[in-house]
Subunit: 202 residues, 2 copies
């Protein structure tokens, strides 16, 4: 009755969502601290002050973007497939999902991986990220205890190097030209779990 058309064809213009999307893009190009509100305004095609009509300020943009990445990570570890079954299977699943999430939310995860703790917002994000890292580290330790991955390298080190590879995706992946998330995950798992070297005995 009221609200005749629930979402009437809203006239051209921005909204909090489109501002966030553009902002994250610019943040990733120039870095958060290297981006001025003037830069954002230019990218949006409006003046600086128009931005404040849609969002409360620069730091809120960062905060919302980081949450979008972190929420994805924590939804992942909350899944049953991350906590039941053989540790090696869970680890593979988590790595695969991480690659998928990285690509699904590329700009948001990219931003997260570059945070250094310059503000309360950044420190809070860093702490949530460390919690995720601890989860992965436990998984790797379990897989080593299980005997399914090599035990001659410290599990903490394995975790870091493995996710060093995974996270590097944000540094070079181009959605337009790159492989699909699944293809990328396949290649990454083949490499990290199977190893680069061809068996001379084969």
């Amino acid at each position: 009755m009221a609200t005749p058309t629930p979402t009437r064809q809203r006239r051209r213009g921005h909204d909090p969502e489109s501002v966030l999307a553009t902002a994250v893009g610019v943040f990733n190009e120039r870095g958060y601290d290297g981006t001025s509100m003037e830069d954002l305004a230019r990218a949006l095609g409006v003046t600086k002050s128009a931005i404040y009509y849609h969002v409360p300020g620069k730091e809120q943009l960062l905060s919302r973007a980081l949450d979008r990445a972190l929420d994805g990570l924590f939804e992942m570890v909350a899944d049953e497939r991350a906590s039941s079954g053989a540790a090696i299977e869970r680890l593979e699943w988590v790595v695969r999902q991480s690659v998928r999430l990285l690509i699904d939310r590329l700009p948001y995860v990219t931003l997260l991986l570059r945070v250094r703790g310059n503000s309360g917002t950044e420190l809070a994000a860093l702490e949530r990220r460390r919690e995720f890292d601890r989860f992965i580290s436990r998984l790797v330790t379990e897989a080593a205890t299980e005997g399914s991955i090599r035990a001659d390298v410290d599990p903490g080190l394995v975790t870091r190097l493995l996710f060093g590879s995974v996270n590097s995706i944000t540094e070079w992946y181009q959605p337009a030209r790159g492989a699909s998330a699944d293809d990328l995950a396949d290649a990454l798992l083949k490499m990290t779990f199977g190893g680069l070297r061809v068996d001379p005995a084969a």
Copy 2:
């Protein structure tokens, strides 16, 4: 005869080198754009203007730091061991040397890996870095052609994931508590070349 003591016990105080070292440390903590000259001055225990007695300005500090990392990389690829012998051997050597350089010049390389191209200085550094990356990529391709590393993953992808692991060292390595460069390189090569998974047939 002249200059009675070539380097007399110079009185307390800073010099271009110590300013650079401190600056790079702060740049890595807060990010280059997130660091003000006031921040630097505080870290050095002097006023802002004292910094300009030793170095020409903020961007020169960045430039000198990046050169220190890039010069190391190019000295490495200029070595004979990077260009003669089996490709797989050269690749292993370059990876090992990269780990060593990363740790030897940790703060400088860390800074280099975070550059995004916001200024002429940064763009020039990015271009030199890309040249290094191309060298590595060629090496990996040769090793694949040789048949010494797996051919079922694109060489460009292998390069990126491999050096994703290597470069991640800057994100977590702590000189005081961490392993030596050689131990780290051993573990990394074991993992990346040998693979994580334990052979079920073994």
